[in-house]
Symmetry: C2
Subunit: 175 residues, 2 copies
Amino acid sequence: MSMPIARVNELDCEEFVQIFGNAVEHCSICAAAVWRHSPFNDVYQIYNKTAEFLDQLPISGKEAVLRLHPDLAGKLAISGRLTNESSREQTLSGMLALSETEKEMLERLNTSYKSKFKFPFVICVRENKKKAIFDGIRARLANTPEEETLVGLEEVKKICRLRLLDIVDPGCPKL
Amino acid sequence: MSMPIARVNELDCEEFVQIFGNAVEHCSICAAAVWRHSPFNDVYQIYNKTAEFLDQLPISGKEAVLRLHPDLAGKLAISGRLTNESSREQTLSGMLALSETEKEMLERLNTSYKSKFKFPFVICVRENKKKAIFDGIRARLANTPEEETLVGLEEVKKICRLRLLDIVDPGCPKL
């Protein structure tokens, strides 16, 4: 459904939010903020404005963005209640086809992580293989909450960038 | 479905967002931010934390919150696509039963308003009668965009307060 940028620039706010509302998982506020900058030159400008908006949120807002993400291979995934985007990403990553031992290990790591940070572990699974994901959660458990909020937010941006590129035709490749 | 505060304090983040995610229209990020402060003393504390979060948003975020609200008696209302909360509020206010002349007038005012401010006119219809609503939109059209963002946000807070009181039993009345 790759859409040319000219078509994106014709969308009114409601249509824009409908299409881009989950570029940041469950955060239609991002799309509603970014729409203000329409017309866009290209998909990269939509991405940059989204990243800028995320950076401007107070720390409580950044944490809330992370908190609206599902657990990796967690209960929403198991019960088939992920958003379409998350479902596709988690399935392709192989994280929904773990061995029993791996599942138990991930559950333990997820629990420790959430009990320390009060938000779920977020990683761009499309840019990481299983080993890197397990290594990532272990390494990031050592961060302070403030550090980890920012690390998590960078992953949100990577996920968002790929989701935007699924929706909008990037046009000529950037030189 | 009025819920005692003790029950609210047992909710995990996902459940909390499910129940309170539309206390601010389409802004589950508010509920996700406010959950951090659980356990709450009472519904008024949930309200205060939500208002505090809204106040801390950058101006682009405040505008985006307004932008996620439906037009008053607009196309979502006409086509029956409002959220349950908005539908109930707009119906009770009488704004969905206007005469043809009033409808045309409101449409003209809504259009001028949105073209000036780039977000829809938001007013707590449960606290205003039809005349006050029409007078409100006319008077507020004279505001600067910055003033009007803050005026709109105060209405968002009033709507939120009443929605929270629909969900949570306030317990003893405040002395």
